[in-house]
Amino acid sequence: MTNLLSVKNLSISVPSAKGRVSVVDNVSFEIPAGKKIGMVGESGSGKSLTAYALMRLIKSPVSIDGGEIFLNGREILGLSSKEFRLLRGNEISMIYQDPMSALNPIMRVGQQIIESIQLHSSVSKSVARKAAIDLLASVGIPEPESRIDSYPFEMSGGMLQRVVIAIALSGEPKVLIADEATTALDVTTQDRVLTLIDKLAAERNLSVLLITHDLGVAAQFSDDIMVMYAGKLVENGSVEQIFSNPAHPYTKALLDSRCDYTIDVNKPIKSIAGQPPRPDNRPSGCVFSPRCAHAEPKCSASVPPLTSSQGRLTACFRSDELFQVGAVN
C-alpha cells in the first residue's frame, strides 16, 4: 500500500525562559491511503502541533526545527506558501474542536461553503451553490436547500461541525485531519458525527488522522493508533494491539487510568503518579521514566528509540520483557 502521508523526524520547538525547548521531538509516522489513524495523548503531548505542521500552520514563535513531510510523494515543508496553498484544502484538510469559532458568525453557512468551493475550482456561483447543497446533504443536514441560508447561530453544535466538515471536503482532499473534532459535542451527537466521518472516509477513500484525548473515541474510530507523550511518539500499532496488548508502560497506564462505566467501582482507579512534564522541564532519557512504575537506571540514562516489538512500534527498553503477549502484569 502506498503511503499518502509520510512524516520523517519532525521536530517542533517553542521559545521559553530557558531558550528554545522541544515540543514535538523527532516524530515519524506514515498514513496509508484510506486508513484511519487515531493519535491519542494528553494535553501538551504535541498532538495538535503535529497536525498544524501537516497543514503548514506553524507560525513564529513556534518553529519547525527539522524533518520532512511527504504528501503524496511530495515534500511539503520546503514548498513556498503560494505552492502549498494549492494543496491545502485540495489535498489535505483539517477540522477543529470548536465549530463556532471555525465559522464566520455573520455570514450564512452556505456562503462560507460556496466561497470555499470557488476557491478550489473556477465554477459559477449557481453551480457552487448546487454543489454546496449536495455537500450539506452528504454530511447529513436535513433540508439542505433551506439550511444553506442559515447563520451559524441558528444551528446546533453538531450541525455546525457537519458544516465545517462540508467545507473541509469541498476541495475533495485525500487527507482529513480531525483535531479533537468531537470533543465539544455531547456524547450522542459525537456518536453521530464520528459515524458520519467514518462513512465519508469509506465513500471517498479518505485517509483520516483523528486527534483525540479520548481513548474511547480513538478505539471506536481508528484502524491504527499512535500514542504521544511529552512530544514523543511512544507507541504505534493497530487498534487491537494498542488496546488489548499495549507494549509501552505509558499506554498501559493510560488505559488503566480511564474511567468509563465498565470499570470496577470498588477499587480506586490506577492513576499515574505525578503529571506530564512541562516542555521546559523534560526529563533526560525516556520522557515517561519519572512516572513509570517499571523504570530502571538505563531508562533515565538514554532515550529509548522507537523500535519494532511484538508487531508494532514502541519506544521502551523493557517492552519485550514486560509485555510479552500473555504475560501477567
Binding site: 451527537t189 453521530r192 471506536q220 480511564r258 499515574i272 503529571q275
Partner: protein, 321 residues
C-alpha cells in the same frame, strides 16, 4: 436509596423558567431529588439538560420558578441574608475550569484561606495551620503555598479548589463538572482523592457531570436528565445495569469504550435520531424508537413511575415492559 439515611438537602418539584421576549425556556421542569448524608448523587445529562441550573438553585445562587429547596432543614428563599450566609458554610462548590475559578492574583495560601477570612474564623496562625492541613489532605505540599494559579497545572488547581471548598468543613460539596477539564491520568487522581475525602470526612456530594463513566465511578445514586426533566433515577446498579428509559439506554450506547471489541456490539444499537420537538408529553419521543409510534407518548402526561424502592423512570413503555 435506603430511607434510614439522613436527608441533608432536597429539592421538591422545582422548575426554572427563563423568559426572553416571547421565548420561554424550561430549564428545569418539576425536578425532585434528595441528597443523603455521606453519599453521592450524580446528575447526568447532555448540555442544556438543566444540570447546572439545578446546582445553582441548590447553592442558592438562583431561585426556582416553582417548588422548594431545603438544605439542612432550612428552606431556601425564606432565609434572612445572614441566615443564608451562615448556611453557605455548609454547602460549597468546585467548578469545572481549574484556572478561572481561582483568583489569579492570589497565592494558594490566600485562596484556601479565603472562606476562613470571609467568616472571620481563627487568627492568622491557626488559619495557616488549617490551610497546611487542607493542602496535605488534597495531596499538595507546603511549597505550593506561595504559588499562584498560573504556576500550577490544571490538576493542581483543581486540588486547590477542592481544598478551598473544604476549608469551612461543609456537609455538602457541589461538584459541577469538576473533573471534566482534566486529562485522563490526572482525572483518575482527582476522582480517587474525592472518594478518599468523602470517606474521611463524611461528605455528601452533588456530582454534576456529562461523563457517564465518572458518574458510574462516583455515584451511589444517579439521576439522568433530559431537557429539564429527570427521566430516570436509581442506584448506580439500577441505572447502569438495568436501564429502563430509552434515553438512558441510547446515552450509554453512545459512549465510545476504549475496547475495540465492545464497541462493535454497541454500535448496532445506535440510530440516527431526529432532533426533538416541543409539545409532546414525552420530550424524548421524537428520538425514541419505541415512543415514536406510540400515541400515548405524545398525548398522555408522564409521571415518574416507581419500579422498585430505589428505581423510577419517566416513560410509558420502559425497557423492561
Amino acid at each position: 436509596m435506603s430511607t434510614e439515611l439522613k436527608v441533608v438537602a432536597s429539592a421538591s418539584g422545582i422548575s426554572r423558567i427563563f423568559r426572553g421576549g416571547s421565548n420561554e425556556v424550561r430549564a428545569l421542569d418539576d425536578v425532585s431529588f434528595s441528597l443523603h448524608e455521606g453519599k453521592t448523587l450524580a446528575l447526568v445529562g447532555e448540555s442544556g439538560s438543566g444540570k447546572t441550573t439545578a446546582a445553582r438553585i441548590l447553592l442558592g445562587l438562583d431561585t426556582p420558578s416553582a417548588g422548594s429547596v431545603e438544605v439542612l432543614g432550612q428552606t431556601l428563599g425564606t432565609l434572612k441574608h445572614e441566615e443564608m450566609r451562615l448556611l453557605r458554610r455548609e454547602i460549597q462548590v468546585v467548578q469545572q475550569d481549574p484556572f478561572s475559578q481561582l483568583n489569579r492574583r492570589h497565592s494558594v495560601q490566600r485562596i484556601i484561606e479565603g472562606p476562613l477570612l470571609a467568616f472571620n474564623i481563627g487568627d492568622k496562625e491557626s488559619r495557616k495551620k488549617k490551610v497546611i492541613e487542607l493542602l496535605e489532605a488534597v495531596g499538595l505540599e507546603k511549597e505550593h503555598l506561595r504559588r499562584r494559579p498560573h504556576e500550577l497545572s490544571g490538576g493542581q488547581c483543581q486540588r486547590v479548589a477542592i481544598a478551598r471548598a473544604l476549608a469551612l468543613d461543609p456537609k455538602i460539596v457541589v461538584l459541577d463538572e469538576a473533573v471534566s477539564a482534566l486529562d485522563v491520568s490526572v482525572r483518575a487522581q482527582v476522582l480517587n482523592l474525592l472518594r478518599k475525602l468523602q470517606q474521611e470526612r463524611g461528605l455528601t456530594y452533588f456530582f454534576i457531570t456529562h461523563d457517564l463513566g465518572v458518574a458510574h465511578y462516583m455515584a451511589d445514586e444517579v439521576a439522568v436528565m433530559f431537557r429539564g426533566r429527570i427521566v430516570e433515577r436509581g442506584t448506580r446498579e439500577d441505572v447502569f445495569e438495568n436501564s429502563q428509559h430509552h434515553y438512558t439506554i441510547g446515552l450509554l450506547a453512545s459512549v465510545p469504550l476504549a475496547n475495540p471489541q465492545a464497541v462493535k456490539s454497541n454500535k448496532e444499537q445506535v440510530q440516527t435520531l431526529p432532533s426533538p420537538e416541543d409539545g409532546d408529553a414525552c420530550l424524548y419521543r421524537t428520538r425514541c424508537a419505541v415512543g415514536m409510534n406510540r400515541p400515548d407518548c405524545k398525548s398522555t402526561t408522564l409521571t415518574l413511575t416507581k419500579g422498585t424502592a430505589t428505581h423510577s423512570w419517566l416513560c410509558h413503555s420502559p425497557q423492561g415492559s
